[in-house]
């Protein structure tokens, strides 16, 4: 068959599909199927902003049909509210509800939206506290949070480089295996958090699907990128440096999600970033710095390159904290956590290949296995300090 004849055969099923869709929607088939039962309505409160005397909700309609908000209750009392752009939220649409309400600092509040058909949607403000605004003061606060829990710990971890350089080769492999252990722990943790966050995403946006796309999309991207470079036949040294940067990037993307979660929790008053928590995050993330320098321990990387890798790994925490504190949504959270998980997953594979090649195929020496296990246990131990 000639090339010119190809496309009609591609279009034919599509045309038939369109005709069928038209028949279903216009041909009265729907009225038979719907049986006159009202559709299930679904509204999700994506974000609650608290300013003095006001509660402002961002809501999303994740259901099959438009939903009209008729009344709003706060703490079991009907309350005045204004809604923009409209009382009726279209499918996949967003709206903002402003409620002038004398909320009380440090106490929980219950908000209930009542739709025109009487369906109610609950949202709990766990601890009422003023939501940070996008001003210099709060940007600085979030920057400091990112600095404390991301940038500085990673930078400190990088300082293990001189120590690693003085180690025997098998102990360097142990350090690399330990890095893999750290990363495996992070992947599991990130996936769990991503899927948990996905539960909060409005139904139609399919949070779980978003996580799958983010994880595999990132993994595939990095596979293609790192694979393309390797085919050019690099020196071992360059390859190890590349791996260090890949690890830094993976950790950085993970820290973006982590910063997002911390920023959001901080903004919503769900956590108090006490000294204990900050110190915990520092310990937890310092080990990430170790992971970056482990592959290049035998080399003499320039200080500038090291700093860059550190920034790549720690810096996104700051960006994440900004986003989380000022513009958090569960969808964004699930997406970022998924991307982080995908990136780390890819890095683990690369690490395994590197150690495998350097050890001439004898990857699973007792020492390497111990390294992976130690990495997992170290992350678990430091994770105890940041339980939130």
């Amino acid at each position: 068959m000639s090339r010119s004849r190809r496309w009609p055969w591609f279009v034919l099923p599509l045309a038939l599909l369109a005709a069928l869709a038209l028949l279903v929607t216009r041909g009265g088939l729907l009225s038979t199927l719907s049986r006159g039962v009202p559709p299930a309505e679904e509204l999700t409160v994506e974000r609650a902003r608290l300013t003095p005397g006001h509660i402002t909700l961002t809501i999303v309609n994740g259901g099959p049909d438009p939903v009209t908000v008729a009344q709003v209750m706060v703490d079991e009392a009907f309350w005045r509210f204004t809604m923009t752009p409209d009382r009726t939220v279209p499918r996949l649409g967003r709206a903002t509800i402003d409620i002038p309400y004398p909320w009380i600092v440090g106490e929980p509040h219950q908000v209930k939206l009542v739709s025109a058909s009487g369906i109610t949607f609950d949202h709990e403000i766990a601890v009422a506290t003023e939501t940070p605004q996008a001003d210099a003061a709060s940007l600085l606060a979030f920057t400091l949070v990112g600095l404390y829990v991301g940038v500085l710990p990673v930078a400190i971890g990088l300082l293990w480089l001189p120590f690693l350089r003085r180690l025997e080769r098998r102990w360097i492999h142990f350090a690399l295996a330990l890095t893999a252990g750290l990363l495996i722990f992070l992947v599991v943790d990130a996936l769990h958090e991503a899927l948990e966050t996905a539960e909060l995403v409005a139904g139609a946006f399919q949070g779980t699907g978003v996580v799958a796309i983010a994880v595999l999309g990132m993994w595939l991207t990095l596979q293609v990128v790192s694979g393309a470079k390797r085919s050019k036949g690099e020196e071992g040294r360059e390859e190890r440096l590349r791996l260090a940067f890949l690890i830094a990037l993976g950790i950085g993307l993970h820290n973006l999600g982590e910063g997002l979660a911390i920023g959001a929790a901080y903004a919503q008053g769900a956590v108090t970033l006490g000294a204990f928590l900050i110190v915990g995050f520092m310990l937890h993330n310092t080990t990430e710095g170790l992971g970056i320098v482990a592959p290049i321990a035998q080399d003499q990387p320039r200080l500038g390159l090291l700093a860059l890798a550190g920034l790549l790994a720690g810096g996104p925490t700051i960006v994440g904290a900004w986003l989380g504190g000022l513009a958090y949504s569960p969808l964004l959270g699930a997406l970022c956590l998924g991307i982080g998980a995908g990136a780390i997953l890819q890095v683990i594979g690369v690490l395994g290949r590197l150690v495998g090649r350097e050890t001439g195929g004898a990857l699973w020496t007792p020492l390497n296995a111990l390294g992976v296990a130690t990495g997992l246990v170290v992350m678990y131990g430091t994770g105890l300090l940041v339980a939130r």
Binding site: E76, A77, A116, T120
Partner: protein
């Protein structure tokens, strides 16, 4: 962040607003130093709904005396017509509820007879479900509305002598009863004593509520169906004149309801079955199906609140206002 916001929060922190101010940070506190607001909740809910099925103000004083005739022996006969229909009513602005109604309204019409009258109620079920009418009072077993269920499209005639005098009820008695009552099939039934009570400004108040999301809890509370109705349109009373409220509690799901009137006390005639008041109080609690007649007179002009003293019910709709005016003042 604007300077104004900071200074206001600063003022709060220093306690300049006092306890009252702290309880109402925001628009209310911003409005005025003394915070005079006559109807905060009607502002909050957006006024009165257009499609409630009743006019709450008209319902207060609407009495259905039936079609009257005389039997050969001289007994007065009163014939009423009640039809059960399914109707979507707008309970609050924009909030719709699939109600079951008597004559298209919730509560059903207030039936009124005098003790000793022969009451004949022609009931037609035009709804989609089985219904019945159960009257409180003395009557034969087959007039009780429990065993004689009326299928959709059918009719039944209830006949009995109006006894005893007092404030009685009628409501559907089909299983599941809770749902049949909650959906709106109820009304007040006044039996006047043969010697009438003293002349007064009489009002019917049926305390009710709506479980709009069917979770077996009320989301909406009211007297006479429409939340905050008498806050949007206060009930006008004359200073010095006797007022009489026929108050019935037809709230489902919540075990108890109450009324409290401000700036005054009332005499309570429990179930309306005595002409001697049982109590002089300003707050009375009532279980499901309880009803009383309250009498009171305001000696001062002004606006006075009345509401359930379950504050939760009050803020979910069960509150209203009396506007006491001097004789001759109409506006």
């Amino acid at each position: 962040m604007s300077k104004g916001k900071v200074s206001r929060r600063e003022a709060l922190r220093r306690g300049l607003w006092g306890a009252a101010g702290l309880a109402s940070v925001g628009s209310v506190a911003r409005a005025a130093t003394l915070g005079i607001h006559t109807d905060p909740h009607t502002v909050m809910t957006g006024g009165l709904p257009q499609g409630a099925g009743i006019d709450p103000t008209a319902f207060l004083t609407a009495f259905d005396y039936g079609e009257t005739s005389r039997r050969p022996d001289g007994q007065r006969v009163r014939e009423y017509r009640l039809t059960a229909t399914d109707r979507k009513i707008e309970v609050m602005p924009g909030l719709y509820y699939d109600a079951w109604t008597f004559n298209g309204q919730v509560p059903g019409p207030t039936l009124r007879a005098t003790e000793g009258d022969l009451v004949r109620v022609h009931f037609t079920n035009a709804g989609l479900h089985e219904h019945s009418i159960h009257f409180h009072g003395f009557h034969a077993a087959n007039m009780d509305g429990v065993f004689e269920q009326v299928p959709p499209g059918s009719s039944y005639v209830y006949e009995f002598e109006a006894r005893p005098f007092g404030l009685q009820l009628y409501h559907c008695h089909t299983m599941p009863i809770k749902r049949h009552i909650a959906k709106g099939l109820y009304g007040a039934f006044i039996i006047d004593p043969k010697t009438p009570r003293p002349a007064a400004h009489e009002m019917v108040m049926v305390m009710n509520g709506f479980d709009v999301n069917y979770d077996v809890e009320n989301e909406v509370y009211a007297v006479n169906t429409v939340p905050f109705a008498y806050q949007a349109r206060p009930i006008v009373l004359r200073r010095g004149a006797l007022n009489r409220i026929y108050l019935a509690n037809l709230l489902e799901f919540d075990l108890i309801n109450s009324i409290h009137i401000h700036g005054n006390f009332f005499h309570v005639y429990r179930t309306g079955t005595s002409l001697v008041p049982a109590e002089f109080t300003d707050t009375i609690s009532m279980g499901q199906g309880e009803r009383h007649i309250l009498e009171f007179t305001y000696d001062r002009p002004g606006t006075f609140m009345f509401h359930a003293h379950q504050s939760e019910f009050a803020e979910l709709g069960w509150m209203g206002l009396f506007e006491v005016r001097d004789e001759g003042v109409t506006a």
